[in-house]
Amino acid sequence: MIRRLAIILALAVALGPFVVLMVNSVRPSDAFLAPGAGFIPGTITLDHYRAVFGGDGETLRFLANSVIIATATTLLALLLGAPAAYALARARLPFRLSIVFALAFLIVRFYPKITVALPYYLIMRDLGWLDTHLAVILAHVSVTVPFVVWLMLGFLEELPPEIEQSAMMDGCNAWGRFVRVVLPLSMPALGAAAVLTAFTSWNEFLLASTVASNDAKTLPVRISSFITDKGILWGNMAAMGTVIVLPVALFAFATQRYLVRGLTVGAVKG
């Protein structure tokens, strides 16, 4: 009984703010200012969404950017990370290079990205790639590829060696073994890595805000600038917040099995 109450309390604390966010996003502007107007708004309005999405259609563009960047990041991170993990696990490199490389991937998790952000900005400036999707995608891939590599490494460690030896006897070279046997078997790990990567990219703020000023801006960057500009437009802010939060919440619900595995394995193995 006490346990159940405690869980309900925890749920209220964890979810309450999101309820407030969503309710505020449909609360008429004038109702914000009335003191003691009550939590449940008397009338509901979609004005804030109209304001956020309407006009110049900017928000829609940022939303599209976020979707494009998260999708491309996920695909690229898997495309680069999975083969790299396989190579790290199987290539017998001299001088313990496999361990060195694996640690190189791991260490990305442990330093502040702000250290990289400044020079990354300069590099992108020199390449003329500032404010392009590519600049944001490359940054996001570079911070998410380590997830993919480490999740896959953990999985590959547990794959019985006979399966691949058997494929070897059946005539597969390394690429054939990877594509025909290892990849299909590592779908659970790949799924977890994909979900984690997508979330990370969708939510990432620092690197995106460093290199994207307009054309490649993502939603998190938008919401921060939005607030400093017009800090008091609570309704619009709530609508914007909802647009960022809701897709992630739904996506998390749909992919919870992978998500939980990704979070726990990533941490426990690391």
Partner: protein, 293 residues
């Protein structure tokens, strides 16, 4: 093509990307930190100044203030989230659908963008329209200026960070708890151990390596805190809630005071690495001590 060549081809692109987008910038940032360069004044890097940027940063009152706040936030947030996360994991461990659903729902704060979390809490804590103060006011408990007064804002930010990341420690520790063989617990119960004793003598020691790991991740990540500052306080009031990350961001990307920002960012990097290393060493000590017991 030999297997070896194929595997190398598989490895090279990812390594190359990492080298170009992470390690090269890292090195460059270190290089810049040893030179004099303010982008606002000059598009090219100035002369070599040795450790001058480091000493200047370390003598900067804003920087040291940010350092203390960051350390406090990291310690407070990680302690809070580890304890609460462990508690929630104990509460929700189990395999019926209600518990599983609760665990999933409790995850929500951590999968949301930190900037959005900042927005949400700014709204919650807003002076006049925020439900928190409305409720407190209705109960006659006063209406504190959560994000507006320096000391309180620091605590508030710490709690918000803990709120966002408690689910992380919960989910990892729930996995650790679930992996304790049930017969160990059953055996302890047969031996007549009460709940408190089982928790102290069995559950905590078994999960201790994981707890320490979670604490390390939390601590290191909290030292890098940056995003939520943007959408809650913007570093204010004054410089009260400048985290190191935020201070560096402002110095580097707003004032383009690049070389000092780079120096500061390497100090932060060193702090993160040292923290991670210390935790890992501590964990190893404890684990080997446990093995010897």
């Amino acid at each position: 093509m030999s297997d070896r060549q194929i595997l190398l081809l598989c490895l090279v692109p990812a390594l190359l990307l990492l080298a170009l987008t992470q390690f090269y910038p890292l090195a460059q940032s270190f290089y810049v930190s040893l030179h004099d360069w303010t982008l606002a004044r000059s598009p090219v890097m100035g002369e070599f100044v040795g450790a001058q940027n480091y000493s200047r940063v370390l003598h900067d009152r804003q920087f040291t203030g940010a350092l203390w706040f960051t350390l406090g936030l990291a310690a407070g947030s990680s302690i809070l989230s580890v304890l609460l996360g462990f508690g929630l994991a104990l509460l929700t461990v189990g395999e019926n659908w209600k518990l599983r659903l609760s665990r999933t729902l409790l995850l929500l704060p951590m999968i949301i963008a930190p900037v959005a979390v900042g927005t949400v809490w700014r709204m919650m804590l807003a002076a006049r329209i925020g439900p928190v103060n409305e409720a407190l006011g209705a109960l006659g408990l006063g209406t504190p200026n959560w994000l507006g007064s320096p000391g309180l804002a620091q605590v508030t930010l710490t709690v918000i960070d803990a709120w966002q990341w408690t689910p992380f420690s919960m989910i990892v520790m729930a996995a650790a708890l679930a992996s304790i063989p049930p017969d160990i617990l059953a055996a302890a119960r047969m031996d007549g151990a009460g709940r408190g004793l089982i928790l102290r003598r069995i559950i905590v020691p078994i999960t201790l390596p994981i707890i320490l790991l979670v604490a390390m991740f939390r601590m290191v990540d909290a030292l890098m805190t940056l995003d939520i500052v943007f959408t809650t306080t913007g570093g204010g009031p004054g410089f009260a809630t400048h985290t190191l990350g935020y201070w560096i961001y402002v110095q580097g990307l707003r004032y383009f005071n690049i070389s000092q920002a780079a120096a500061a960012s390497w100090l932060l990097l060193a702090l993160c690495m040292a923290t991670a290393a210390a935790f890992l060493l501590w964990r190893r000590r404890i684990m080997s001590w446990q093995v010897r017991q």
